[in-house]
Amino acid sequence: MSDTPLLKVKSVSKFYGQRIGCKEVSFDLWPGEVLAIVGESGSGKTTLLNCISTRLLPTTGSVEYTMRDGSIRDLYHMGEAERRFLMRTDWGFVHQNPADGLRMTVSAGANVGERLMAVGNRHYGNIRATATDWLGRVEIDADRIDDAPRAFSGGMRQRLQIARNLVTGPRLVFMDEPTGGLDVSVQARLLDLVRGLVNDLGLSAIIVTHDLAVARLLSHRMMVMKDGHVIEQGLTDRVLDDPREPYTQLLVSSILQV
């Protein structure tokens, strides 16, 4: 890990009218680090993730990002063209519902190839070869490359969404309940896959989940949210094995079924 954080989140708050989405959240994310944001439904996890990833503009706060060239940029003051370029090259965003992150009517190959074409790749054969390679890495048979994701199972769709995001070699991936809609056995396979990819590629990631098992398996560090506030954060093993806040203790002891 280098000595500059990849992301510096400072006092990010989001209000929906009077209602708190998230309040005064600050943290640093380091290169190669996987952070889990946990908490029960409605605690502000998605709001926070969307603010950090600039899909949503916060009411107050700032997020600084260390670009590939080492320069540090304030994400909320970046031009839209540059920000969108960053989002589809250096970042990934994996939605809970794959239909939100895929183009359901075009083939798996085109779904994976889209980002390559967006950054100017104009060689069909190369795009297809790269797409084939990525389908293999997410355990989708090469002979499904021309099938639309409509014909895929939930687990396959989610793996396709991951491939589509990783094809440009992003450094940071955001995931919102990536295993949320899946059967338990399918979840386990997907988690193994994500863990392998994150390790192999040295990705940084912020993963929103209500499932502490997901946080345990994937994350180095975790933040616990309640009513829009981060009430506890620390190394994942420490928080799960030795929770300090009474609310976290409830979560961990599964008295609260989140």
Binding site: E80, T105, E114, M117, D146
Partner: protein, 299 residues
């Protein structure tokens, strides 16, 4: 192209060229903006015209806004001057603007078209007005108007290649034969719908002004004279136009766009110029195709 309107036009029921002057000014402003930003779709307040959408109401409004008493109008549909659509639009302008009409490409100052660009290269001073049903090239993959506008604004055109990628993946080649997307002046991606891709190269560096009107979708766009127009493709699947095995059966023309004509119910058929004026002109100049005598005998 003269904006002057004769005060004694004698047309009691209509303003010259049907549209009122206020509307024409509004449309001309949209046209000027479109010319200033080649390939960019300018919204305009499309008016009801006395014909249904699909009959080229966008093109008709553009023509009505630029036509003057001195203009000579040609109207083509599928390359022909004598189809119902072309005849109706021509008759409309004869009635409401009392302008001269022609079928000869070289004699026209304004040519309104659906589908084809004339084979005879257009000259400086001529205006080609296209009737466009669907102006948005990104619509196929992105139904949200807010998003397609943003993509144009930020020059995010990866989706166009996704569309071409799909075509190759499913058909082994780019099978799209009409409404083939182009990049205009190195900036805006534009849909020349619904012309055959055969005509795409004619748009490139044309001496004529090209105006596009979409009535239902309320958009006008333009290619000024001498503008670069490039058809999108892949390095390993370059853009190609249709080619035909045989020359026109009537006039012997090569390298022109041909239509299939069924001759009888025994499977007899021939391929002839889709541009009827071009074909007739060649025959008048003594060119003859293999079927020329036979076709006339059959008539």
């Amino acid at each position: 192209m003269s904006p002057e309107v004769p005060s004694d036009s004698g047309l009691a029921t209509y303003n010259f060229a049907y549209l009122d002057e206020q509307t024409k000014r509004m449309i001309r402003r949209a046209i000027l903006k479109a010319i200033a930003i080649p390939g960019y779709q300018v919204p305009f307040a499309s008016r009801e015209m006395p014909m249904p959408y699909g009959w080229g109401t966008g093109g008709v409004q553009v023509t009505a806004s630029i036509i003057g008493p001195q203009d000579v109008l040609k109207v083509i549909d599928q390359g022909a001057d004598d189809t119902t659509n072309a005849v109706s639009i021509r008759a409309f302008f004869q009635k409401v603007a009392n302008v001269a009409v022609t079928t000869h490409t070289k004699d026209a100052t304004i040519i309104q078209t659906r589908h084809r660009i004339p084979e005879q290269p257009l000259a400086e001073g001529q205006v080609l007005v296209y009737q466009v049903p669907i102006p948005e090239p990104l619509r196929f993959l992105e139904p949200r108007e807010t998003e397609t506008r943003k993509m144009h604004a930020l020059e995010e055109y990866g989706l166009m290649h996704v569309k071409l990628y799909e075509d190759i993946a499913h058909n082994g080649r780019i099978s799209k034969t009409y409404a083939y997307p182009v990049k205009v002046a190195g900036r805006y991606v534009m849909d020349p719908s619904p012309t055959p891709k055969f005509d795409n190269p004619k748009m490139h560096m044309s001496d004529a002004l090209q105006l596009f009107g979409a009535g239902r979708e309320k958009r006008i766009y333009a290619i000024p004279p001498h503008t670069e127009v490039v058809s999108l493709d892949f390095e390993d699947h370059p853009f190609e136009i249709q080619s035909f095995d045989k020359p026109c059966a009537l006039c012997g023309a090569e390298n022109v766009y041909l239509d299939e004509v069924i001759l009888d119910d025994q499977g007899g058929r021939m391929f002839v110029c889709s541009d009827t004026d071009h074909c007739e002109d060649r025959r008048d100049h003594g060119h003859a195709g293999a079927m020329l005598g036979r076709q006339e005998a059959a008539e």
